[in-house]
Symmetry: C3
Subunit: 263 residues, 3 copies
């Protein structure tokens, strides 16, 4: 059974190792995969995007643990989400919001039965004492609905879907800037006309205006360094620059608006 | 069998992978877990704290390899420590000092029998050629006392236990500053009065004075950002600040003194 | 079966996890080891050195995936290399050049048969859609020559072998600067006289001239901090400084020339 981990814990401290120790102690055969531990501290939406981009590469049945948890110790709930054949474990603060939005029929369970928890439960490290043990239980065959009641009032995130302006243009947001400075926008192929790229368009984002859609980074013409658009590997439209950071060139950060207008 | 790795090698070079290759070549079923490889270069005490905080989350029988080894190639000894049901492998320079202090009945063995080493043994990389093969041997069932004689003059670290001043105040040190800027002090619950927090106290540390103990980060009242104390997940008293770095606010670094006075 | 991964993807994004998800979904028992994901973006030679230094620590049969791939999506080929009992998967851009130079009888195959690919193949992420699935196939018993035809015109790297000057001195390059500031040069023991170190020599590199060869970092005399030479763990001559960065002291970077003269 595969268990993935996604946190804002960094890799310099003992936190991630402690979670893995708990999981391997309770689910000895588990294959543990780090998604990332470099989510900027307490940035729930950034984690939600990374999880959304990663989970479908894993086989059905994978247990995904996500811990970006500014409310640890408070009354915020622990949840298990059953969506698209995958299970997700973490705090109820929106981390799984975009997976739930994408997958039809997701079910969310409030983890109220504590017999799997590691005791005593630290008030500051539910990753080790609540979420890792619950993940190990799921990986060992415990079903989500054995952990607590299904709920419908779980915390949601702002929808990923673009907003349509009166002039026909569409507005989405920057979801993520990756290591290479590529800017992942909220636009998917479903949001744009089927022939997108064939007829003129303008993407207005930060200090730039982009009118070119290419198929890959090294496509002839890209060497100029001028930013262009591309369909990224996570299924979203990305703004990129050949061997350079489009985010820097365009002055864009996560959350900034991106508008596509059709002439 | 689980083998954990803790080094100051970073993750940009081939060092950690080479250790894993050797372990998996000799103990094919081993589950290898990284504790961290971001110990500041050659900071033995920092590594000793991280190991102390991590090991108990792993099941008994786990083999923990720690390599922070400024003396590699010199006459410093290689040791295996048997403590609390766990095994530890590394140079004899204090790395396991705090585990040994905590666990009653720890036994330390000087690794003199070299038949498990990878040949030729590089004078600069015992992690790959000595410690990884010894860890693989332990994970494969070799017993610590088969590797060399038990010793009592192993290298120790300064005790974690606080010092008592004449005025009744207690002094410990900053053991670690974590990714979030939380300041881990040397105080455990055993060092302080059973009702600690119920009656007035003052923690004098760096540029600050702290009089509040809270249960978790997001507890009401914490939003001000004013640093407060909390029982951390490693069992030590921590100085923290809600969504901010207490270390920065208080001007504290590893090794700095922290005094608790009772009025 | 062991699968190693070496990329310039960093660890903050979902890229590495997506590759692991694909591998574990298709080769469920695989043990995946990260070599590094911190290759400077698109620096093929830096990756080639790290792979060269790491692969021999792994047992024969290991599958090594390397993805530093500025040409992704273009006509650059995907290759599988069979060398020294190991298999290598990645783009045909020189990544495996130094492994091929070292191992006699390496064979290189152009991956033309796409039935193992993950569909649809993203034009920007062959790591997930081409190289990870091919690695999983190899780990599951598919043979290199079942994936496509053998080729001889694969991309090579400049030879690692030093150049001999008319005055008898030898010139190599800096292959890598590691986390500790140690400077790995291209000289191996085979390139230098058998008694190297016994008679006088001068290493001219950057702003320095080095006349001392030591056996390990902490050898008596090294405390001065003066840079010296040492045989490094990857089999190359390294320029190092005790508890300091030789690269900084000497003003050296990857690619810089290093000359050894014999007096």
């Amino acid at each position: 059974m595969i268990v993935t981990l996604l946190t804002d814990f960094g890799t310099a401290d003992y936190f991630v190792a402690a979670m893995k120790g708990v999981i391997l102690g309770r689910a000895p055969g588990a294959a543990i995969v780090d998604v990332t531990h470099e989510v900027p501290p307490q940035q729930v939406e950034d984690a939600a995007f990374t999880l959304l981009a990663a989970y479908r590469a894993f086989p059905a049945g994978t247990v995904h643990v996500a811990v970006v948890d500014p409310g640890v110790g408070s009354a915020r709930r622990a949840v298990v989400v059953d969506a698209g054949g995958h299970r997700f474990v973490g705090p109820d603060n929106g981390l799984f919001g975009w997976v739930i939005e994408r997958e039809g029929g997701a079910r969310v369970f409030h983890v109220t039965r504590g017999e799997h928890f590691r005791r005593p439960v630290s008030a500051t490290f539910h990753g080790r004492d609540v979420f890792a043990p619950v993940a190990a239980a799921l990986a060992s065959g415990v079903l989500p609905d054995e952990l607590g009641p299904e709920i419908r009032d779980f915390v949601r995130l702002p929808s990923l879907r673009p907003r349509r302006h009166d002039d026909g243009s569409l507005e989405a947001r920057v979801l993520h800037v990756d290591r290479f400075g590529n800017v992942v926008t909220g636009f998917t192929a479903d949001d744009l006309p089927p022939d997108f790229g064939a007829s003129p368009f303008r993407i207005v984002a930060g200090e730039g205006e982009i009118r070119t859609l290419r198929r890959f980074y090294a496509e002839p013409g890209a060497e100029s360094g001028e930013p262009f658009a591309i369909w990224g590997s996570a299924g979203f439209l990305e703004l990129v620059s050949f061997r350079g950071s489009a985010a820097e060139r365009l002055g864009l950060r996560r959350g900034d608006p991106v508008v596509i207008a059709f002439d």
